[in-house]
Symmetry: C2
Subunit: 384 residues, 2 copies
């Protein structure tokens, strides 16, 4: 089949879906989107929008009717629905097999552990007694992290347990054992880093430069590239991301989030089977961005150059209040000619909601960081 | 008014309109498009498509209802219709005043001449006798170019007159004097160059690097940036483009096409009041591309950095035969990771029709040219 005639379906029409479409449209691809919201960020630029909840199989069936290859911008979706379509011959990239291994955090960690990819120690727990046991054990010890094995993101589905006294409340916060739970060793990290990588249908792979991330209130705040780490650590991180792609048989763009400890050890914190917020810097920062290479992967095209054009800082624009969305400071920020603002097109601002992001490129990371820091006071999404 | 809430209207939904929209959507702008074809390249990514002929005022009135600022991807449009809307308070950028000065090639040249911008010698003619006179004159001499003052593009509306014997046929070819005609001195150029520049509502300006162009059958074939010219010539060309923007009071991105003679003289061949084919290289080649700066200009935002990331070659993908469009060689071409292909989304290929383009970036222009030349044999748009 002529590659350009392949119709692409995307589960999820948020900002990640939107940025995939912007790249797909450069090559003239037809794109259909499945999203619960008629006014999702992708709505105006897709060829067909199917409005249906992401847990309802009927939306997936409808999407399949319009597409040759289905991908997704988000992993908390209906894997059963996708699997049924896959069985009937629908191409899904990344495969449902990959998706399932990643959707469940316990399986995700187990897969990595059994393939010698370093992860924090972890174990399934179903009662407060079991948690208490791990807290007392020399392997784990406090603080430790209690997590739901499925459904978590941006700090949701995670409750830190600093001392034995927190066990009860953390357990209750995460559903009192109704949802499957696991404990994870708390890694006292020095830096949070992430590596975006893309892998093709036949296993070929490209890896992006290592990004250094800062979170605020468990949501990504700032990404700086290149990360301020040694070449040795950088190579190690790239090598881990590379192995992650193989272990999960990823087709498309994935993100591997990692903890770097003071003594130079790396532990994988989480894998996302899709383009990732910490890879948004690639739009201005790299010759071919994470979304372009995602599209190339799923349709079977060779990859574009992932190398860095210039040091780049990405800052998330998070809603600071509720109401009709309004971005302050755009004109002011554009006085710096190397600032690019991305507005996702969500009409409502909510406190903590990802409304957009901006990037600053510079001759050095330090210079870009300084200019980005100033703009954090200027560019603000509010509700009015 | 909140800049991001400005609704943008574009007259023309071809590839230039499409590439404008792709940039406008990064900032979440609403975009309405007026085009005669329901399946125009912009159709799937605009918020509203008004299907109406570009000479019919009713389409413009409808477009105006949906937009705060109207721009255009093409100059051969209904200036009267736009002027009526402008009089009623509709913002139009570039202004109708600018458009009118450029739409008529005789007025365009006259404006430049009276502002000391170098243009070839030219004169209005209405009979074959008058043409014969100019052919004989020491000022003009043969060969000379016969042109319609309006409606020309891509070599259409131009007939070269090599000797007196060609006068009759050239005159008949261009409508036997029914359309307004002019003669223009033939400039024996060494190179064709062009400069893209953007100018804001309050007159601020940015200029892109000089591009060197090669035409085949009067249609742009290849653009190489940087042009292989001295710094002195480059500065002179940029300065001319700068003055062109001021003379025509351009708001938005314009292109100034120029002839460079062997003795280092520059003559302006033509001005386009819009992003231009010879500026497509800016998408991969520059930090902020010509379409992004066009959008920034018309909504009143400061400009992005126009400097070159790396030497870039742009090659047009012209339909080589008629029928359902099919691009050959995409996979093969993407084995080079610094190739980007743009497919406009026209379902029908026609011989000579602009179907897409590709860019090659490299460490040197020579390297990029060599790689691009190889791909000219590989990437081909055919009809089947």
């Amino acid at each position: 089949m002529d590659i350009l005639k392949k119709k692409i379906g995307i589960v999820g029409g948020g900002q990640l879906g939107k940025m995939m479409i912007l790249e797909a449209k450069r090559l003239g691809f037809y794109v259909a989107v499945l999203d619960p919201a008629a006014d999702c960020p992708s709505q105006s630029i897709c060829d067909k929008l199917i409005v249906s909840p992401l847990d309802d199989p009927s939306g997936y069936i409808e999407l399949s009717k319009h597409t040759d290859v289905i991908t997704y911008e988000w992993e908390l979706i209906n894997a059963d629905a996708l699997e049924n379509l896959e069985k009937e011959g629908q191409t899904v990239y990344p495969s449902v097999r990959s998706l399932r291994k990643i959707q469940n955090k316990y399986i995700q960690n187990s897969e990595m552990q059994s393939n010698n990819i370093p992860v924090p120690r972890f174990a399934l727990v179903s009662t407060t007694e079991e948690i208490r046991e791990y807290g007392k054990s020399t392997n784990f010890g406090y603080p430790l992290m209690l997590k739901t094995t499925t459904g978590g993101y941006d700090g949701k589905g995670v409750a830190p347990i600093k001392t034995e006294a927190d066990i009860e409340s953390a357990f209750n916060e995460l559903g009192s054992g109704v949802k499957e739970l696991m404990v994870e060793e708390f890694v006292g990290f020095q830096k949070e880093i992430s590596v975006i990588a893309s892998r093709g249908i036949t296993g070929e792979m490209v890896v992006y430069p290592v990004a250094e991330n800062t979170h605020t209130n468990t949501i990504l705040d700032t990404t700086v590239v290149p990360a301020d780490i040694s070449d040795e650590i950088s190579n190690k991180a790239a090598e881990i991301a590379n192995r992650v792609m193989s272990v999960f048989e990823g087709v498309g763009t994935f993100c591997t989030e990692m903890f770097l400890t003071a003594d130079g050890n790396i532990f994988v914190n989480e894998v996302a089977p899709r383009p990732h917020n910490s890879g948004h810097y690639t739009i201005e920062g790299c010759f071919a961005n994470q979304f372009e290479n995602h599209i190339r992967a799923i349709v079977g095209l060779p990859f574009g150059d992932t190398s860095l054009i210039s040091p780049t800082v990405m800052v998330n624009l998070i809603g600071q209040s509720d109401g009709t969305a309004r971005l302050l400071g755009l004109e002011e920020s554009y006085k710096d000619p190397n600032v690019h603002v991305h507005v996702y097109g969500k009409s409502e601002s909510k406190t903590g909601r990802k409304m957009g992001h901006f990037t600053v490129t510079g001759n050095t990371a330090d210079d870009a960081v300084k200019r980005a820091d100033k703009l954090k006071q200027v560019l603000r999404f509010i509700g009015e």
